[in-house]
Amino acid sequence: MVPRTPRRSIVAIGAGGLALALTLAGCSAGGSDSGEGGATSLTFLVDNGEATVATAQALVDAFEAENSDISIEVDTRPQGADGDNVVKTRLATGEMADLFQYNSGSLMQALNPDQTLVNLQDEAYVGKFDENFVKSVSTDNGVYGVPMGQSMAGAVIYNKDIYAELGLEVPTTWDEFIANSEAIKAAGTAAPIVQTYGDTWTSQLFVLGDFNNVLAEEPDWAEKYTNNEAKYVDEPAIAGFEHLQQAFEADLYNEDFASATYADGVSMVATGEGAQYPILTFAASQLMTTNPEAADVVGTFPIPGGDAASNGLTVWMPTNTVYVPKSTEGDKLEAAKKFLEFLTTPESCDIQAESNAPQGPFVIEGCELPDDVPAMVSDMQPYFDEGRTNLALEFLSPIKGPALEQITVAVGSGITSAADGAAQYDEDVKKQAQQLGLEGW
């Protein structure tokens, strides 16, 4: 019986320590509420990506210079799934920072925006936003986000020198694209199409970037897909899988496609080792880091489909979007809204373009890209100006199957046929829809 007393006291100390820790935590949470010398102080939570933090800090510095009565502190959170959890938990418990950066599209929908975020529908600047962007940060009841960054496209980046040497034209249909690729293969100096399955996510572009062509044939495909009515095994959506198989069978990929990485792929196009590479145009920042001399050599064209008339870009909206949680109230809400308004000014766009290489056009009216952007980005502007763009599927439907990248690697490596791959992906999508608890699955 002797050992009992010491054990109980250990438990008591442990409990005491816990209580103390809780009290301290409570204190610090309460402490941050008080303003400094009458000025309003805000917190701004962003992901810890180097580029995100640099951009956010540059914007905050410029804003504070204009508004001396408001001070904003930039906090960071992890990226990826860990970051998702931080954002969701802090929103659910009402402990969110006064402003926070998060994704648009299906990830934003998962935050329950109607319950947790401040509706910005009546702000004047919403009218200046690109219509597609508004879609990606809206529910039926409101508009919730302001962009911090540019849109991008899932497209083919290509080496303009190779095209000029061989006298090739930018293709507007898939058949022209294959004809160009065969010509490059015959010339024998470069790999016609670059694939980089060392980074599996890069394998999805032929499928995801083809979505403009899917919508061209069936404008309500995304809705049908969400309602379990449209499938990847059927036309027109299967085309992306078929393209992968066709290009593999025609032996158009680089020799090391199975092990090359994303960084390899970008520099292959830059150096002329590879001619064409389907990828997201955020590759511009990779290009400017590793091969800045090729800024004018690497251009962009949309992934072509069956019909030249509907040729256009599949577009991803800025993934960096700034939101205000409902827990921000009073003076803080006013200050936060002021910051959001600042984000929509051309001045803010210039800062964003300066602090990080642009990956595509801005989605705010009046914001222009600087003149010295890489050709890869300026090539996209005409499609935006002429309205020849469509949103990527992930902004139009909440369902994206998690195994797509493995399936597209298997199809692109000749392990699985296009039809089997599409059928596998349909099953994967079904699983995701059931997990999300959607009706009709």
Binding site: A81, Y197, T200, P402, I407, A410, I415, Q432, Q435
Partner: protein
Amino acid sequence: MTTATAPGRTSTSSGGPTPPQPARRGRMKSPYPTWFFIPAGVFYVVLFLVPTVASFYFSLTRWTLFDVEFIGFDNFVRFFQEPQLVTGFVNTFIYAFVTSGSKVVLGLLLGVFLSSQIVARGFLRATIFFPVLVSTIGVGILFEVLMDPFGGPINEALAAIGIEGPAWLTDPSLALLSVALVDVWKGVGLATLIYIAGMVAIPQEYFEAAKVDGASAWKNFRHITLPLLRPATVTVVLLSLIGGLRSFDLIWAMTGGGPGFTSDVLASVIYKQYQAGFFGLSTAGNVVLFVVVAAIIFPLSWWLNRKGDDQ
């Protein structure tokens, strides 16, 4: 070295369902009062029993960490419809049997070699055990670089002697075996250690008697060393088979189950479901993995130990 025999022996004797001695010991009056067991019991219940029971429950639900919806056996039905699952099952068995078999054979040979009278024996023994101590992920990333088909040192070396090396990790038919090869390299040290310990424990009298009878070296090995190493072999087989069946880290670090799904094993299929947020589904997968491992290991260990008792 003798300390290593202890875990080897205990794991072989406790593996069987009804070994005679532990059963008899269990019926004896315990020398400790009941409260003595409470701390261990609390740990056991909180850390092992509760999660196990909970995982059986969650495997029957659609679970988002916040909401739980009971859906019966749907997860199991869906799990068995996974396109990767059939490949995963087959690969798991190939991987487990290839690595386990290779470790037994190589471990035995190396064990004989390293328990003989050779120069720098202690150093050589330590060297073969080093890979066991290194982080599996580190080994995986290292070999991913070494096995790169373009400019990787292994294929460069092969090219220097005129052999065109295969695409180790990117050839769909080779990827799994390449990973198994690395697994054997990394794990054979442990098998060797167990064998050395087993050999040291064989009394010298047998060899002296055999010498008197004029037995050859091969007969010594075949009729003395090999039979008396049975407990060590049982341990190596069980440990490496269990390890192989649930292996994950090395495969994930080296191929991520790819290219496509060609080197997926049960554990990596399950992990991908977790990653995708299908928590109920992946819990169901873990229950399946548990049942599969148990269904193989229990009969095997019973069979191996029974044959050991016969002698």
